[in-house]
């Protein structure tokens, strides 16, 4: 059996583990366009911040590929010949496969902007190489402009703050983290970030650039030395789409992590799968999902049986002591009931639909949040216990002794 | 100094015994000699012998051997006996004057036949009656001491080394089918003749080497049944226990061994159900008769003897056979004096009795 994996991120290495948990013999080839062993992508900002050392960012020990008998090939997949089961690389190389797993991740989205070509120091922020490059490009007098107040942009801001003189973040959206937070929650985060020295220009973005000046939509100007473009990502799925695979915004997979094409699996940031809290497929580009999805794909590729049937979106993100956690579906769209618990410096919002917790936002007080996540994941009937008590204090009390006996006295 | 019986008197000792399974009668000469090599096991403060089958002419009468301190008490005792027995014969026990044995009391023997009328009114059999008489004299009649009371047997004892005691009583001139002997090493004694061994009641006699740690438990138990342990010696309590179990409770010598040197519970548990029940029964009802601590004893009785070690075998005891003769002694050397050649010689295990009964009809 020949296994080929496109991409070399957490999903890919988990896929290797999954394959090897079933099949110790088959050959595994990993194709990657990054010349690094798989590393934890979220660490790139921590690298900048100095919390992560370069040696510590890798997903697996140094001898992992060797130990798992994996051949690594540097290159980018450009096409799949599904009839002959061959992956074509940009360098012209062809790699035959019996089972293929696409873990190709995503790429930064860079819209056409006038004057970008006039900038000396402009970066995206998705790979460790981006981090290395930024590290070189900034000094303590640098003024950094980050376009995009999403997760990537803000983490980049956090990573850079202590290295530079000024960090400004702008976004067309009127609030930070607009994809995961509502106005009120975003305001709390923004206030905190401002108190930590980040400057914002929201509901506003650069219209065009000229040298070291960004001309903003509202007519203002921002002087900067380094530009970071953090406007979002697009899944790397072109070659799969070309091969006739079913895609929406990303590759559609089922709970086996199978794509529409026989023998081809996918996992990680480049897939859309069912969100149990939402009922529809969506991209849930999150590390836990990449790990679980990759492993599941690997097992199934090798003939084993595994399901990843409880995926849900979630985020845990923190900036200088303020933690934000979200999970599930929490748009207060009227279908769900929102229950709020506010503390002095915290907001907890829970979204309940048909007696199920479908999502939550926690800001500030994130203690034992996994208990909530577990409720979302297990789709438990919350009318069966004192959910109000749980909202105030996440613990195992409301679940009753039988549940505790099972979980605290057994193997889980 | 306190007299024997007023304090607890532990002692070390030498024992020996010889018996003819055929019931042939022989003199005590050999057994007296056998005590010589074991001289150091005694200290001259007591020695004695018991012979069975020695009074064939008077075999139907209780042979009482008594020590008297003086003639007055002798007279009192004789009065007392006369009221209860026909005194068939009353005589001084013949002795040989030898320098090693001195300060002897009055040593007398009586052959007695209990008066039927007295037995009837007491509603007792002659043995029980006689046992009570012995108990009475020994506890109530100060200055008199019955040291032998069985039929066709007799105990002979004195203060001195056993080989001298044998010569003193001229035992070489008696003939019996079974002899036991004892040399005593008391650790604290005024040297009272009655304190020597063998100790007996009726035809049960005991020679014993050791010191039973269970003494007071055994004594206080046996005293519930009319026995009075006046001497505070192990031998005395053993003799009473032998009388109690063998005569009054009808146990066999083997069963008696199972009481006084009962097998360990761990041993009992390995037995079959019936045996387990039997041994458990003994250990339950006669638990107070279990003897612990070191002992080797020979219990003599009419028609046989039983030699027994404590269940841990904390004292030496050797047995041997030659033709119809069985020999027991604290040390093998004593046996070799009696019979240089043996057919079989062994060291009985703790708690395993050596029981020798003479041929029927002897």
């Amino acid at each position: 059996m020949k296994y080929v994996i496109i991409g070399n991120g957490p999903a890919a290495v988990s896929c290797i583990d999954g394959i090897r948990s079933v099949d110790a013999e088959g050959s595994i080839t990993v194709v990657s366009k990054e010349a690094h062993p798989a590393y934890f992508r979220p660490l790139i900002s921590y690298y900048l911040e100095g919390k992560s050392k370069e040696d510590n960012i890798y997903c697996r020990p140094e001898n992992f590929y060797q130990k798992k008998h994996v051949e690594t090939v540097l290159g980018e997949a450009v096409a799949i010949d599904t009839n002959n089961k061959i992956v074509a690389l940009s360098g012209g190389e062809n790699i035959p496969y019996d089972r293929l797993c696409i873990c190709s991740g995503s790429s930064p989205f860079v819209p056409p902007m006038k004057g970008l070509d006039t900038l000396e120091k402009q970066f995206t922020f998705l790979t460790i190489d981006d981090s290395f490059a930024l590290e070189q490009a900034v000094d303590k007098d640098s003024r950094v402009l980050i376009i995009g107040a999403g997760l990537i942009g803000l983490k980049c801001a956090e990573g850079l703050r202590d290295r530079v003189k000024q960090v400004t973040v702008c976004d067309l959206a009127p609030r930070v983290l607009s994809s995961i937070l509502d106005d009120e929650c975003a305001a709390v985060v923004q206030e905190h970030l401002e108190s930590c020295g980040i400057t914002f220009a929201l509901a506003n973005t650069a219209d065009h650039f000229d040298g070291s000046t960004a001309y903003m939509k509202d007519g203002s100007e921002i002087e900067f030395d380094v530009l970071v473009l953090a406007l979002g990502v697009r899944p790397n799925i072109g070659f799969f789409k070309d091969a006739g695979g079913e895609c929406n915004r990303a590759i559609i997979v089922n709970n086996d992590m199978k794509t529409s094409i026989d023998g081809i699996f996918a996992a990680g940031d480049c897939v859309e799968q069912e969100d149990i809290t939402f009922g529809n497929k969506r991209i849930m580009a999150l590390l836990p999902n990449a790990n679980i999805g990759g492993y599941t794909a690997g097992v199934n590729m090798a003939g084993g049986e595994q399901q990843f049937d409880n995926a849900l979106p979630m985020n845990s993100i923190g900036f200088w002591g303020l933690h934000i956690m979200t999970a599930g579906t929490y748009a207060n769209d009227g279908n769900a009931q929102m229950i709020e618990e506010k503390g002095e410096k915290s907001i907890k919002r829970f979204f309940v639909k048909e007696n199920k917790l479908i999502g939550f936002i926690l800001i500030g007080d994130v203690k034992s949040a996994g208990i909530y996540t577990n409720l979302v994941r297990s789709q438990a009937d919350i009318s069966a216990f004192d959910f109000d008590a749980l909202i105030k204090n996440p613990n195992l009390l409301p679940f009753g002794e039988i549940y505790r006996r099972k979980t605290l006295r057994g193997v889980v | 100094m306190k007299r024997e019986g007023e304090f607890r008197n532990p002692s070390g000792c030498a024992i020996a015994a010889v018996i003819s399974k055929e019931g042939r009668r022989f003199s005590a000469e050999k057994i007296i000699e056998s005590m010589i090599p074991m001289h150091d096991r005694s200290n001259g403060l007591g020695g004695g012998f018991a012979g069975y089958g020695i009074y064939p002419k008077y075999k139907d009468f209780f042979a009482f051997h008594l020590f008297f301190d003086d003639r007055h008490i002798k007279k009192d005792v004789e009065e007392y006996l006369k009221e209860r027995y026909e005194i068939v014969l009353s005589e001084e026990i013949p002795t040989r004057k030898i320098p090693e044995i001195t300060d002897e009391p009055i040593i007398w023997r009586y052959f007695l036949n209990p008066l039927k009328s007295v037995l009837r009114s007491a509603q007792l059999d002659e043995k029980e009656f006689t046992a009570r008489v012995v108990m009475h004299i020994n506890t109530k009649m100060n200055g008199a001491y019955v040291f032998s009371s069985g039929k066709n047997m007799g105990a002979f004892k004195a203060v001195g080394f056993p080989e001298d005691v044998g010569r003193f009583y001229m035992l070489d001139e008696y003939a019996g089918y079974s002899w036991t002997s004892h040399g005593r090493y008391p650790t604290n004694t005024p040297g009272w003749w009655g304190g020597s061994h063998p100790f007996g009641l009726l035809d049960y006699s005991v020679v014993h080497n050791g010191e039973i740690s269970s003494y007071d438990a055994n004594r206080r138990f046996i005293e519930m049944f009319g026995y009075k342990c006046t001497l505070q010696t192990d031998t005395e309590v053993m003799a009473y226990i032998a009388d109690f179990l063998l005569r009054r409770k009808g146990l066999t010598p083997k069963e008696m061994a199972e009481v006084i040197a009962a097998p360990f519970w761990s041993t009992i548990e390995k037995k079959d159900e019936a045996e387990k029940a039997r041994l458990t029964y003994f250990r339950t009802i006669y638990s107070s008769l279990l003897m612990t601590g070191p002992f080797s004893i020979v219990v003599g009785y009419t028609g046989g003897l039983m030699a027994l070690n404590d269940r841990l075998k904390l004292r030496s005891m050797v047995a041997a056979e030659k033709d119809d003769m069985v020999y027991i002694a604290s040390e093998e050397t004593a046996i070799r004096v009696m019979t240089p050649e043996v057919d079989k010689i062994w060291s009985p295990a703790g708690g395993e009795p050596v029981i020798v009964n003479v041929k029927d009809g002897v």
């Binding site: - | 740690s213 007071d216 138990f221 360990f264 039997r278 339950t284 009802i285 107070s288 601590g293 904390l314």
Partner: protein
């Protein structure tokens, strides 16, 4: 009515090392009496010493050993006649008008005869026995022993015995009722008894349905209140004990307040929930020895003569004659409880002034029964402050077949003898029915500690037997030569039936 001045200061002082205290508040959480309290304003632990009973729970649980409970050293003017405690008791009674209540055993300084008796050892004339090398037997059978042996025509012995209680060591846990002590305490005792091959005693509160499984290690008690007594109960145990009296409070009954009669206790005792469980002072069907005989045989009848019957009495002045009567009543075992025996609650005056020491009672009873030749009719079990393996050895040598221990067992379970059982707020989970407190005694631990205690005693008993040259406990029973008295007068020695040391 509120008394204008309280003459009574707290009996104890809580000494807290502020340097050591880390404000973990374990003391606060663990004190059912509410002594400790954390004050957040001052970040300080406060103590309400009036509530402290010196149970030592907080002391034992304080992880930094910051706590000591000390006697309040405040002193009234010294007076040899009017001792401080005597005066305080008067104050208490003047405050309340009530009978003074206390619990556990008599704490007054009466002579402890165990401590004036010494044990013999083998030297030279008799070897001591090494229990590590040789078997050392501690098994006993309690019950009537037949006088005569019966044989069938073939000479085989009829080995059937009257019912016996077999014990692997001559120690049993004495009666403590479910109600006076907790479910977990009972479970600890029951499971330990099973593991040790001995018996525990239900006390007068019936037998909880969960514990019928330990029947062969259980002695079921029938007391004057007859709580929980019915056929199954009588048949459940290894023996039936008729409780005539108790050492801590001879001649009076008992009273379990309704507050302790929860659902489980109510069911076990077969009385309504919340009702006071009152045991009358006498059994109302026993006004004399012949009545006792009737009850003994009623119980035997009810159980098909398969259970030995124990009659338990308090050691009182005429105990020898009483025991003789009981030995002729058909009872198989007599249990005698000395005046130092414990209790869940007793009037202080009675606890401290009634009864006689068990050592003297035992010696007198054993002697009397032997003098009368009826010692084999009954086994003797003694209790009332048997505190150690050497007390056991001495009791056996004086003539007991076995000992009853209760206070020692409770100590093993964690009791600190604060003598406040009557409050029902036992911080150690023993003398309480409050579920929050009961759970403090994990019966697994309880069992283990009891098994450990008696295993240790067993080792010591064997060691002492070995040094006396005795390798089976029955050879020690009544073996008074193994004992000598020290500092005892002629009369005491005579009663104990032992010689003075040096004799």
């Amino acid at each position: 009515m509120i008394m204008p001045i309280n003459y009574i200061l707290p009996e104890f002082e809580v000494e807290r090392s502020d340097y050591r205290c880390i404000r973990c508040r374990v003391c606060e959480r663990q004190c059912a009496n509410g002594v400790h309290r954390y004050d957040a304003d001052g970040d300080i632990m406060l103590s309400d010493e009036f509530q402290c009973v010196d149970c030592q729970r907080c002391v034992c649980l304080c992880p930094t050993h910051a706590l000591k409970i000390r006697k309040n050293e405040n002193e009234l003017r010294e007076n040899a006649n009017w001792k401080q405690n005597t005066i305080l008791e008067i104050y208490k009674q003047a405050n309340t008008g009530g009978v003074l209540l206390s619990s556990m055993g008599n704490p007054e300084p009466f002579p402890v005869y165990w401590d004036k008796i010494l044990i013999n050892a083998s030297q030279v004339t008799n070897p001591s026995i090494d229990p590590l090398r040789e078997p050392m037997e501690t098994r006993v059978f309690l019950g009537k022993k037949p006088h005569d042996i019966e044989r069938d025509v073939n000479g085989n012995i009829n080995t059937e015995l009257p019912p016996q209680v077999e014990l692997q060591i001559p120690v049993m846990f004495s009666a403590m009722s479910y109600g006076s002590i907790s479910y977990n305490a009972h479970q600890s005792l029951a499971t330990a008894a099973e593991a040790l091959g001995i018996c525990y005693n239900t006390g007068e509160g019936g037998l909880h349905e969960d514990f019928y499984q330990y029947g062969k290690n259980t002695i079921v008690q029938v007391a004057s209140g007859r709580f929980g007594v019915y056929k199954d109960y009588l048949e459940a145990g290894a023996a039936i004990e008729i409780k005539m009296g108790q050492g801590a409070k001879p001649g009076i009954g008992g009273h379990l307040p309704g507050t302790k009669v929860g659902a489980d206790v109510s069911k076990t005792r077969m009385i309504p929930e919340g009702s006071d469980a009152i045991s009358p002072a006498p059994h109302h069907d026993i006004y004399s020895i012949e009545d006792l005989r009737q009850l003994v045989f009623s119980l035997k009848e009810a159980t098909d003569y398969k259970k030995p019957v124990i009659v338990k009495v308090a050691a009182v002045h005429n105990i020898a004659a009483i025991a003789s009567g009981i030995a002729r009543s058909g009872a198989d075992i007599i249990a005698i409880d000395g005046f130092r025996g414990g209790t869940g609650a007793a009037p202080t005056r009675i606890r401290d002034n009634v009864g006689i020491p068990i050592e003297l009672a035992l010696a007198a009873v054993d002697k009397r029964l032997r003098d009368e030749g009826i010692r084999q009719n009954v086994s003797l079990v003694v209790g009332g402050s048997v505190r150690s393996a050497s007390d056991v050895i001495k009791a056996i040598a004086l003539g007991a077949d076995a000992c009853y221990i209760a206070t020692s067992a409770l100590l093993a379970l964690g009791c600190h003898l604060c003598r406040t059982c009557q409050s029902g707020k036992c911080n150690w989970g023993i003398a309480t029915q409050d579920p929050e407190l009961v759970k403090r005694l994990n019966p697994e631990t309880g069992k283990e500690r009891l098994v450990n205690l008696l295993t240790a005693w067993k080792h010591e008993i064997k060691e002492m037997m070995g040094l006396m040259g005795i390798n089976s406990i029955e050879a020690l029973r009544g073996n008074r030569l193994m004992l000598r008295g020290v500092g005892l007068n002629e009369k005491e020695l005579e009663i104990l039936g032992i010689s003075h040391a040096g004799e």
